[in-house]
Symmetry: C2
Subunit: 379 residues, 2 copies
C-alpha cells in the first residue's frame, strides 16, 4: 500500500430538505453572494426559488451568473469571475451539476487570485487562496461536490482538461435526492456511467490497495443495482439517494487511498470527444471504457478478471467486458460512437484530436498506435 | 436512507515514516506538549524515542503522562488533566492504542473546560471547546484515530462507558503500519475482532443504507482475509497496513451514513465484562457477538442472512453464526467466557452487573430476560 493522507474538508449535508439551512450556512462566509447556475432547469423545477429564498432569509445580496453550459467553457468562467470581482463578492453559491460546480471552483480561484482561469487550469499559475464555495447539487454524477477537481474546455486551444487543487473543495455541499427527481432519463443514466467510470479509473491505477478495491466493487455494484431501478422510478427517493451517495463516494478519495495513482485515460478520451461534438460526458465514457478495456485486455488480464469476478461472477476477461457493455446498453447508454450518430466519416478527425492532445492514462501509458486503435474500437 | 452529514475533520497520515513530519505538524498548535502514553511498550519498541525526537526537533517543551492502562481509568485522566492544567499546555500528543487516545480526548476536554472528566463522560457537563490532539496510533483496533468517541471506566461508579463528541476528533493522526509490527498475536487478533464488531454494530442499526451495508461487508471481508495472514506474518507491511486502514474505516463514519443509528449492545455487554475482569476489549467482543446473534437470530433473521450471504455465501442464519464463531476461533479469540477462564461461578455476578447497568442496544432493545439469556449464552 502507498502512503496517503485521508482528509476531506467538505461538509456534505445529505437528505430531504437539507438545503433549508443553506441561508444560515452561507451567512457565516459573508453577505455578497455570486449565485451561479446553468441554463434554466433549476428555475423550472423550483430549486432556484428555494435557494434564493434561503439567501434572502439572511439578507444576502445576490449577484447572478447563469450562463454555464454543459461541457462548461472557460469563457463563461472568465465572465463570471469579472462579475464577481466587480461586485467584490464574499462567496459563491453554485446550484447545478458538475458543469456549474466545476465552473464555480475555477471562478472562485480566478477571483481570489485576480488571474486568468485558463492559466490556473494549465497549472501555469499556482493559486494560494480562494473564495468560499457552497454547492447545491442537482445531478448525481461527477462527485465534484466533495472533491478538488474541475473540468473546463477552451475553444481557443482545442482542449477539455481537468484541474485538481486542495483549494477546490466546497466548504459545504447540499445534496437533496429530491433535487434530482426531474433529471431526464438519459442524464440519469449518464450519471450512473460517470460514477462507475470514476470508480474504475481508480481501480485501474497502480499499486495494491485491497480495501480501496473492495470499496470500488461496492460502489459499482450499488450503481448497477440502483441505476436500472431509478430509471424505472425516477421519483423513488431511496433509489435517487442511493445513486447520489454512490456518485459522491466514487470520487471523494475513498476509492484511491493507498494507490499510487488512478488511470484516467478513459476520461481523457471522453473529454476529447465531448470537445469535438459537445457529447454529454457520461455518454462518452460508456463508449470509451469498452474500447479501452478491449485495448488493455491482454495487458492487464488479471486486473480485469478480478473486477469481473466481483461484479459478474466470471473469470473471463472477455465476458467481463461483454457484461459491462451489456449493462451500459441496458440503461440505454451508447457503447459505440455510431450509437450517438458519429460515423466512420469522423474517424480521421477524432484520431487527429487524440493524437494532437496526446490523450493518455497515468497508470497505463498510450502510444500513438494505441490512440488510433482506441478510436477504431470506438467506431 | 436517513439524512446525514458526511464530514470528518481529522487529517489522517497513513504509511511508512509518516510520523517524520509530526514535529512540524505539532508546532502549528504550540510548543507546550502533554505527551501521553501507556505502560512501556512504546519505549521498548522505539516509537517513544521517535516521537520525542520529532518534538525536540521543533524545540517543544514536553510534559509527560505515562500512566494510561488498558481499559483506561477516569482517575488517570483526572491526573493527566491536572498536570496539563498546571503546565498550561497547548496541545496533547497521544502515542498508543485506543486506551491512550481515548484518555487523551477526555483529558483535552477536561483541561479546556476546567471540569471533571466523569461529568463529561456522563453528559452532565457539555464541553464547548477543547485542546488540540495529535494521535500516533500503535494498535489497529478501535478507530479512535479518526472519530469522536472515547471509552473510560470508573471504579467508583462501577461503569465502563463511551462518550461521543465532535470536539473529540484528533486534529491529526499518524498511522505507520510498522508501528504495529511488535503488537503481540493476541492483541493483533483482538484488534481484528474489534474492527469487525464496529462494522457489525453499524450493520445491525436501524434504517436502510445500502451502500453503507456494502462498505461494512467490504471491511469485514478485508479483516477476515488479512487478519489470519497478519497473525502468520506479523512483520508483513502490507498485511499490517490493510488491517490498520480497515480498522480506521470501520468507525470513521463510512459504515453509518444513512442509518438511523447503530446498535452497540454488544459493546455495552463487552464493556461490562472488561469492567469486572479487566478483560481485553476485543476478547469480550468475540464472546458477546456470538451470544448476541444467538439471542437475536429469530428476531432479525433477514438481516443476519444478508450478512451471511455476503461473508460466507450461505442463506442460513445458523450457519452464519457458526461461521463467524469458527472465524473467531481460527484467530484464537474466545467465543465463550469459559475460554478466558471465567466459569459458571461468575454467572450471577455478571448477570447482576448487566442488570444493574441495564446494558442495552440502540436499535435492538434488551429486556432483563434478554440480559440474563445473553449471560447464559456467553458462559
Amino acid at each position: 500500500m502507498e502512503n496517503f493522507t485521508a482528509y476531506n474538508p467538505t461538509q456534505l449535508h445529505f437528505g430531504k430538505n437539507v438545503a433549508d439551512t443553506l441561508g444560515e450556512t452561507a451567512l457565516a462566509y459573508g453577505k455578497k453572494v455570486l449565485l451561479m447556475y446553468g441554463k434554466g432547469s433549476v428555475q423550472r423545477n423550483g430549486i432556484y426559488d428555494k435557494i434564493v429564498k434561503q439567501l434572502k432569509s439572511v439578507h444576502a445580496e445576490i449577484i447572478e451568473y447563469n450562463g454555464i453550459k454543459p461541457n462548461p467553457l472557460v469563457d463563461d468562467v472568465s465572465e463570471a469571475a469579472q462579475i464577481g470581482k466587480l461586485n467584490n463578492i464574499d462567496l459563491i453559491v453554485a446550484v447545478g451539476g458538475g458543469s456549474v460546480i466545476d465552473s464555480a471552483k475555477i471562478t472562485a480561484l480566478a477571483i481570489a487570485n485576480n488571474t486568468d482561469p485558463w492559466a490556473i487550469m494549465k497549472y501555469k499559475f499556482k493559486p494560494k487562496t480562494t473564495i468560499p464555495l457552497i454547492a447545491v447539487l442537482t445531478l448525481a454524477a461527477t462527485g465534484t461536490e466533495m472533491n478538488g477537481a474541475a473540468v473546463l474546455q477552451n475553444h481557443e486551444t482545442g482542449e477539455k482538461i481537468g484541474y485538481v487543487s486542495s483549494l477546490n473543495y466546497p466548504k459545504h455541499s447540499f445534496l437533496d435526492p429530491e433535487f434530482t427527481f426531474s433529471v431526464p432519463k438519459n442524464y440519469t443514466a449518464y450519471g450512473v456511467v460517470d460514477l462507475i467510470a470514476h470508480s474504475l479509473e481508480a481501480y485501474f491505477g497502480e499499486g495494491d490497495a485491497s480495501l480501496s478495491d473492495r470499496f470500488v466493487e461496492a460502489i459499482v455494484k450499488e450503481a448497477m443495482e440502483y441505476g436500472p431501478l431509478v430509471l424505472k422510478e425516477p421519483e423513488n427517493y431511496d433509489y435517487r439517494a442511493n445513486i447520489m451517495w454512490a456518485a459522491t463516494t466514487a470520487l471523494n478519495g475513498l476509492t484511491s487511498y493507498g494507490r499510487k495513482n488512478g488511470d484516467w485515460g478513459v476520461h481523457d478520451i471522453g473529454h476529447n470527444i465531448s470537445y469535438l461534438y459537445d457529447t454529454a460526458h457520461g455518454a462518452t465514457l460508456s463508449i470509451a471504457y469498452i474500447a479501452w478495456l478491449k485495448l488493455q485486455k491482454d495487458r492487464i488480464p488479471a486486473r480485469i478478471k478480478k473486477l469481473g469476478n466481483q461484479l459478474f461472477g466470471t473469470n473471463s476477461v472477455d465476458e467481463t467486458i461483454v457484461n459491462l457493455e451489456t449493462f451500459f446498453k441496458s440503461i440505454d447508454c451508447p457503447v459505440r460512437l455510431s450509437d450517438i450518430k458519429i460515423g466512420k466519416e469522423k474517424q480521421e478527425e477524432i484520431t487527429q484530436q487524440m493524437l494532437k492532445n496526446q490523450i493518455d492514462g497515468m497508470a497505463h501509458k498510450l502510444s500513438d498506435d494505441d490512440r488510433k486503435q482506441i478510436v477504431e474500437l470506438m467506431m
